[in-house]
């Protein structure tokens, strides 16, 4: 074999060896079964009702209660994850989706996008497409709804009903690759 061959193959060999020894996905949030079992046995994950009552009364801002009764009903409901941007919500989405839940979505752009589009919509220039102008009108009415700030009525709100605000995952997000 030629020298170049040997060099490249050696690099590959050494690199794969390095990978073997590297910290196993330091990023891994998912636990394997053994770790899961240990956590279950330690029972550290339980919160007592006393503790919860106390925290609610004290207005503890760091808790989030999620009602998981009636999973059957929730199957028909559209669960939408949101975060500041799209990443964290997407990760939550991925985990829940992998568990098989079907009606889960992610808020495109998260809270940041909400602020910039709905609460502070940019006025489109004259040359924008009709769709953009309709969007803008809708957003202005939405802004009024959410903040109570009165805005000029360029047109009656009849037009806003024809616009469906799409908060589900845009098809461009999540690379499409291959042929799917």
């Amino acid at each position: 074999m030629k020298k170049t061959d040997i060099i490249v193959i050696s690099i590959l060999f050494l690199a794969s060896f390095w990978l073997l020894l590297a910290p196993t996905s330091g990023n891994q949030k998912m636990l394997n079964s053994k770790e899961m079992l240990q956590e279950i046995q330690k029972k550290n994950h339980f919160v007592s009702v006393d503790n919860l009552a106390k925290r609610i009364i004290e207005n503890d801002p760091s808790i989030l209660l999620i009602d998981v009764r009636n999973a059957k009903e929730q199957e028909n409901m559209n669960i939408i994850f949101y975060s500041n941007g799209t990443t964290q919500a997407s990760e939550a989405w991925m985990m829940v989706r992998q568990m098989g839940f079907k009606n889960v979505n992610v808020l495109q752009g998260g809270v940041n996008e909400w602020f910039s589009l709905i609460l502070n919509p940019e006025e489109p220039s004259i040359t924008e497409t009709k769709l953009e102008i309709e969007n803008y009108k809708f957003r202005m009415s939405a802004k009024q709804y959410f903040t109570g700030v009165k805005v000029d009525n360029q047109q009656n709100s009849g037009s806003s009903t024809s616009i469906k605000v799409n908060t589900s995952k845009k098809k461009k997000k999540g690379a499409s690759g291959g042929c799917s």
Binding site: T4, V8, L131, G174, S176, G177, G178, C179, S180
Partner: protein, 175 residues
């Protein structure tokens, strides 16, 4: 036949593979995409049908998701730009090595006509197969292997296994 100094010069295959591997890493790192080829054919087909018969396309299951009102053109995709780049790279490389010319690549033992007919059939098979498999060698297999996806390895075994199985029957085309 007289000696034509037609010795073709090619890259060291391992080096080429390494470079392609680096390109794949870049594609994943920057864009989260796997390098592919067949996806571009799908986009072109969809755009073409949409241009010619939009009303049909909007309702047909295969085309519908990509041709709705207000949706971006299927040609405005990462894959299309990537394939355009591939074409550019291939042309530059061929020009550099003096391989840029019109001819038919084939074994000297068969005629041009045979080769071209075989090429059409091969293409049609790939058109169907790549849609069914959601990818071709690069998009499904190579990119799949790069992220340890089971489907990439299944594809690898199916394509190479199948290839070896069929090779004997069409050997006259090559050797």
């Amino acid at each position: 036949m007289e000696e034509k100094s037609k010795q073709n010069h090619y890259w060291n295959p391992y080096l080429a593979g390494f470079v392609i591997g680096l390109m794949m890493i870049a594609a994943y790192y920057f864009s989260g995409e796997g390098l592919g080829g067949s996806g571009a054919f799908k986009s072109v087909a969809i755009a073409g049908v949409d241009a010619v018969a939009h009303n049909y396309a909007k309702d047909a299951a295969y085309f519908a998701p990509s041709v709705q009102e207000g949706a971006e053109s299927p040609l405005n995709s990462w894959l299309i730009f990537e394939v355009l780049g591939v074409i550019a790279g291939a042309v530059i490389s061929a020009a550099y090595f003096n391989r840029l010319s019109f001819n038919v690549g084939k074994s000297p033992k068969i005629t041009n006509k045979t080769r071209l007919i075989a090429a059409v059939f091969g293409g049609i098979l790939w058109g169907v197969g790549s849609q069914l498999g959601r990818g071709c060698t690069s998009g499904l297999i190579m990119s799949g292997m790069a992220v340890n996806a089971l489907s990439g390895y299944i594809g690898l075994i199916a394509v190479f296994g199948g290839g070896y199985a069929f090779a004997y029957f069409v050997r006259k085309l090559w050797i």
